[in-house]
Amino acid sequence: MPAEHAVDTDPNSPASLHARLERVWRNGPGLWGWLTSVNHKSIALRSIITAFTFFGIAGVEAALMRVQLARPENSFIGPDLYNQLFTTHGSAMMFLFAVPMVQSVALYFVPIMIGTRNVAFPRLNAFGYWTYLIGGVLLFSGLFTNTGPDQGWFSYVPLAGPGFSPGKRVDIWAQMITFTEIAAIVAAIEVIVTVFKQRAPGMSLNRVPLFVWAMVVMSFMVLVAMPYVATASAMLAMDRLIATQFFNYTEGGDALLWQHLFWFFGHPEVYIIFIPGLGMVSAIVATFSRRPVFGYTAVVLSLVAIGFLSFGLWVHHMFATPLPQTGQTFFTAASAMIAIPTGVTIFCWIATIWSGRPRFDTPMLYVVGFIALFTIGGLTGLLLASVPVDLQITDTDFLPGHIHYVLLGGMVFPLFGALHYWFPKVTGRMMSERLGKVSFWLLFIGVNVTFFPQLLLGIAGMPRRVYTYLADTGWGGLNLTSSIGAGLIAVGIVVLVINIARSLAAGAAAGADPWGGETLEWAISSPAPDYNFAYIPIVHGRSALWADTGDLDAVAGLREDRREVLQTTMLDAVPDSRHEHPDPTIVPLLTALAVGVGLIWGILDPIGFDVGAVLTFIALAAWGWPQKTKPNTHEIVEVPK
């Protein structure tokens, strides 16, 4: 934080302007300030730390499972705890780490990349984080009190239904889904509306950075896909608690109804996790190749194409069910088609590197790691999409191999690259290159040593989700290799955490723009002040900071005694109106707690759901109630013609 200068007299000197804006935009002091914060960077950073914590816990679960599978007939963990571990590992990684993490990175960087001071709905952003936090704490409280879900992260129905899952384990899973879906939909609306209405003047749609495009496409997919799983998990919870008959085949329901509803969300979900990875790679490749990404329009159209196509291929998760054969071949073709736009994006990045001047620091290493790992994931995906081959290798260990190649390669590697790339902007300190390269190679080798044997195990016929296997099956050797690989990954993560801790304490000062990036976030100091931009910049080209190296044109006139944000038209970002943002308030936390009471008490007794609903409506009334009117507010009204 730039030191507080003595208040100098000159009103429009940068230091006094900074002091005035800081007084208006900063969070309140102490715990109350922390609970009532509506600043997008505080909430996003908090959400990133929470998501990394859940990533760590789920990672420990994965390590425990690998130890249990290292030897045949191992008695390290019994079947009941093992089922809880693999279910919470899958659910936590998908719902509590992947989606919230990419959305938090979006909520941190999209506003400063498009040149605005805060997200469109600050209080809604805070509410989203608190709901996500309650959902995560609920799932892991369940696990630590032996009430963790044990039916698999996609919880197929008769097993997850009231008949075959006694107790409250699956209910905790279903309510966790409802919490995380609310948080995801809220964050998606935030990103879409912020990008549509609050871009810097001059940043028309064809000058929006590729990272922001990826986040907008992902948000639209979230808006359409997440309600399906929220409805499906609500139906499952109602089946278990108030005996509705959605999935009871003797009363007209159908087990396949759950599979359709879940996988209609399930497949877009993995693309929701993977498309932000493409966005992060685009940002890193451009900066480290010292040129804008080749084929901007091609990449944007590919992102949109992936977004649409991902909704048309969910049945490839259900090839082994009694669905008609011709329908299944249609989904093979759809699954193959989605490889074309993905291919286009990868070819464009290779072309960028080809004609650029690449410097292979750690972020760029993670991009190359992404290309290497994700392509294996994509191609094994093609194997799974072909119906006959899928009948042999689905539900075997081949599938965890494919999932981890795609998700670790497609999302976690770009995320770690983005961590090294944007860490200076968040904390003002550089991460060490040496430790970065060590952790990269540990992770890269670890991922291959862990998950390639799982692909081979799948072909060898080992089913997935087995807590042990017989000695005479011959799978012991490959499983041991995989467990050793898991150890390597763990060491890699530890080195990464050491790198983060060391850089926080004693990293080299980063300054505003350590990498010479092209987007607006490198124009402001790091860590960025609470108000982001003293004056909203004007953008003249697609590479905002590479257009010229002199001073940036900017827009003055926003009030300095109020939290005011400039809104621009959607297509060409022409300044259109000013909008005052709410002050820090506790109401989002209270609303999240009301929703929490409703959903958690609803598990124990259905009356709890009604009480929660009433509390939530009361909290929403308090949310809508106008804050106290400040002195000398003068409104300029423009009535539609």
């Binding site: 715990l31 730390i49 409280s141 009190t145 009231p162 107790g167 005996a243 003797t250």
Partner: protein, 192 residues
């Protein structure tokens, strides 16, 4: 920056939540290899509070299946698979007496129900001595009590995947057995 202090507050919230849910441990435990108490000897289980002179001491056996969701669900499965529904028809009664009501001819506490299953009763209840292992007996007794609403609602099972015949145990209204119809001494029978 407040991120580190935030971590501490957030950690405290997680700790409180974990403690609050600690009590769910017992209810959700899957005891696969536990040794359940064997069925009480015939003479030791008193069937009614009405006794001449000084009432003999009360035998209380703590049934491990009480309030355990897994055991009650296993009891429900066995109740259907061993054709108890043939006479008791899911608790509504038929040839055998109804089990959902509050009439307990031979007592409603777990050891009484286990004694009824092991000894058999006149008018048709067969004796299952040596036929059913100890833990299955206590699981069956726990399920029979949940049908009558004597078990806590949390661990009681929901509906099952069959044609619907009655309100599932989880939503059966909670009640305590009527003192007159069974030997339940007020002290013991109050606790669910």
């Amino acid at each position: 920056m407040s991120a580190m202090s935030a971590g501490r507050y957030w950690g405290r919230i997680a700790a409180v939540a974990a403690l609050a849910l600690g009590l769910a441990c017992k209810r959700e435990e899957r005891r696969f290899n536990a040794t359940y108490p064997s069925a009480p000897a015939y003479a030791s289980v008193t069937l009614d509070t009405l006794q001449p002179g000084v009432p003999s001491p009360e035998l209380t056996v703590k049934s491990p299946a009480e309030g355990n969701a897994y055991d009650i669900a296993q009891g429900k499965l066995l109740f259907a698979q061993w054709n108890c529904t043939g006479c008791h028809s899911h608790g509504g009664g038929g040839m055998g007496p109804p089990l959902m009501d509050n009439e307990w001819i031979y007592g409603s506490s777990p050891e009484n129900i286990v004694a009824t299953i092991v000894e058999g009763r006149p008018n048709g209840m067969p004796s299952f001595r040596n036929r059913i292992t100890a833990n299955q007996l206590w699981q069956l007794a726990a399920y029979v009590r949940s049908m009558a609403g004597l078990e806590a609602k949390g661990p009681s099972p929901g509906r099952n995947d069959e044609m619907q015949y009655k309100v599932d145990e989880q939503r059966t209204p909670f009640r305590t057995p009527r003192a007159s119809s069974s030997k339940t001494l007020p002290a013991k029978s109050q606790r669910p």
